[in-house]
């Protein structure tokens, strides 16, 4: 009986819902402690799930005991488990960070913790869901929570960014919902497992339309070039812990869905034409170059990091022509981990620097960087991962991507990956060089809590250390791989 209570699948959804709502009940600005404690528990659940999935294969949990297609199934295969692991691993340090970042009683942080809790519940629910309509609900949960977090600051710029983001995310999930409606109309079910054989057997035009709508909507939500217009103001304008959450996790959620659909129910459609997988890859390439270019030109630190997200998301889409072999998926997920951890670290570090100097320009960092070596080091390590230099998860991702590309004779992808790394170096070193400039000693630095610096450092170290041991993660992706 009690075994069921320790089942990680429902646990990973119930726990964040519980602490989110508890934080609301505790009152404005409160709820950090239960969040951090419960997040640690979630992390343990995730490790247990990883262990379980590695040992026994994919785990399922039929909610309500009905089973698909009548009920909704939760399902954790290797891919879902990996994403869950990334989510908890990023969220826990960020919770510690946010607790120190928001002053007690700060008006802009009144409802951060409830929003954070529900965001995580949405993310976990999304990764675990095996039901297309349920996915829609989790997608909205994630989207609205993210918009709320961006708007939280309350400034005109933030509200405008939040609105822009809201319209983009609603348009995206609207297209997705229409796709779900068409699929239900065609097959009478929205369960992913039920649909897979049905689509393979017969796919009318309407299903092709549905697939296109869903993928397009999700690409908009992932901010794939040229749908990236909403991302920089939202990620660049929000409070640092929020930017970190959004860049590291939220955009990955819709990417995960694209991958899940592409490899699952929509696989028969994506195989229709050999050039189809090149479309996302092409957009990804454009994203890498455009995002990097804008990052190189950015004046504000957080804008630079936000545009770097646009570029880094491009790598995720380079894998689509390579998904014929497991290596392509492994490269993509390694990149998702590398970027997730590193970008969270980078936004966290930027938050420290901005808090200390009171300004958000790259040129204004010169004095601060020398006074905050740990933060700068964290920024540097995160930068190493983004550039794909060893030893780091980003390097392994680049290695795997190039090798997978060579394995399938896709030279162009290998070249793009190499060029993207060099471009990343340009914008990362633009920031790092500030640390070495000769400057008059800055005396007007605000003191910052040490836990901020250490949280950023922990995330950055994780992104580097993963580069020394990626075996387990890669084995995890074997589980449930159909190809």
């Amino acid at each position: 009986m009690t075994e069921a209570l320790l089942d990680p699948l429902p646990g990973l959804i119930l726990l964040p819902l519980a602490w989110g709502i508890a934080a609301f009940l505790l009152g404005p600005g409160r709820g950090a402690a239960p969040a951090i404690v419960t997040l640690s528990l979630q992390f343990l659940f995730c490790l247990q799930l990883t262990h379980q999935v590695l040992a026994d294969g994919p785990a399922t949990h039929p909610v309500g005991g009905w089973g698909a297609p009548l009920g909704i199934d939760l399902m954790a295969d290797g891919l879902a488990t990996a994403m869950l692991l990334l989510t908890q691993a990023v969220a826990l340090p960020l919770a510690v960070y946010a607790r120190a970042y928001f002053r007690p009683g700060a008006p802009e942080a009144r409802h951060f913790w409830p929003l954070f809790g529900l965001l995580l519940a949405g993310l976990n629910g999304l990764f675990l869901s095996a039901d297309l309509f349920n996915v829609y609900v989790t997608l909205e949960l994630v989207g609205l929570a993210a918009v709320g977090l961006v708007a939280m600051g309350g400034g005109a710029g933030q509200i405008a960014a939040a609105l822009r983001y809201l319209f983009a995310t609603l348009l995206g999930s609207g297209a997705y919902l229409l796709g779900v409606a068409l699929i239900y109309g065609s097959y009478g079910s929205v369960s992913i497992t039920t649909l897979e054989p049905l689509v393979a057997a017969h796919a009318p035009t309407l299903v092709g339309l549905a697939g296109g709508l869903m993928l397009l909507g999700l690409m908009l939500k992932t901010a794939l070039f040229p749908f990236h217009f909403w991302l920089p103001p939202a990620h660049g304008g929000a409070a640092a812990p929020v930017s970190a959450l959004l860049s590291a996790l939220v955009v990955k959620a819709s990417f995960y869905l694209i991958l899940r659909l592409w490899l699952g129910p929509l696989a028969p459609l994506s195989a229709l034409h050999p050039l189809l997988p090149w479309l996302p890859a092409l957009l990804g390439t454009a994203a890498i170059f455009w995002g990097s270019w804008k990052a190189i030109r950015a004046l504000r630190l957080k804008m630079m990091i936000a545009y770097s997200t646009v570029a880094q998301l491009g790598y995720l889409f380079l894998i689509f022509p390579l998904l014929g072999a497991l290596g392509g998926l492994q490269a993509g997920i390694m990149q998702a981990f590398a970027h997730g951890l590193a970008k969270a670290a980078m936004f966290a570090a930027a938050g420290v620097l901005i808090k200390a100097t009171g300004q958000d320009t790259i040129a204004g960092l010169a004095g601060a960087a020398q006074k905050l070596p740990l933060t700068l080091f964290a920024f540097g390590l995160a930068g190493v991962t983004l550039m794909g230099l060893p030893p780091s998860a980003g390097f392994l991702a680049k290695w795997q991507l190039i090798e997978a590309a060579l394995g399938q004779d896709c030279w162009l992808i290998a070249l793009v990956a190499l060029a993207g790394g060099l471009l990343a170096a340009v914008y990362v070193f633009r920031v790092l060089r500030q640390a070495f400039l000769l400057t008059a000693p800055e005396s007007s630095l605000q003191p910052v809590p040490r836990s901020l610096e250490w949280a950023a450092f922990a995330l950055a170290s994780a992104s580097v250390l993963l580069g020394l041991r990626g075996v387990e993660l890669m084995q995890l992706l074997h589980v449930g791989w159909a190809g």
Partner: protein, 100 residues
């Protein structure tokens, strides 16, 4: 033609109208309305297409109820943000994206 299919076809007309409105309109209230048009289109298709043989199907009906509540939540948030933006800037349009 069955009533269900008719609903679905109306939905097929509403949804693109909503999308176009969302993309073309600049006034925020119009965009919120456009979003609701889009949502209604999707809901009509969800229920209508499933009932194209004119036999009621409770599953999509329940889904649409869920979808409506979600749309209400999103609309409320959009309205709240619009009001806030108006209170702060006196404008009911989004500013152009700053090129930074």
């Amino acid at each position: 033609m069955s009533t269900g299919l008719l609903f679905a076809l109306v939905g097929a007309a509403l949804f693109p109208m909503g999308v176009a409105g969302l993309l073309v309109q600049r006034h925020l209230l119009r965009r919120i309305l456009a979003f609701n048009l889009m949502g209604s289109g999707a809901f009509l298709i969800l229920v209508g297409l499933a009932q194209r043989q004119d036999v009621a199907d409770p599953v999509p009906q329940a889904m649409v109820l869920t979808g409506i509540v979600v749309a209400v939540a999103a609309t409320a948030l959009a309205l709240a943000l619009t009001r806030r933006l108006y209170a702060l800037t006196g404008r009911l349009e989004l500013p152009d994206v700053e090129h930074d």
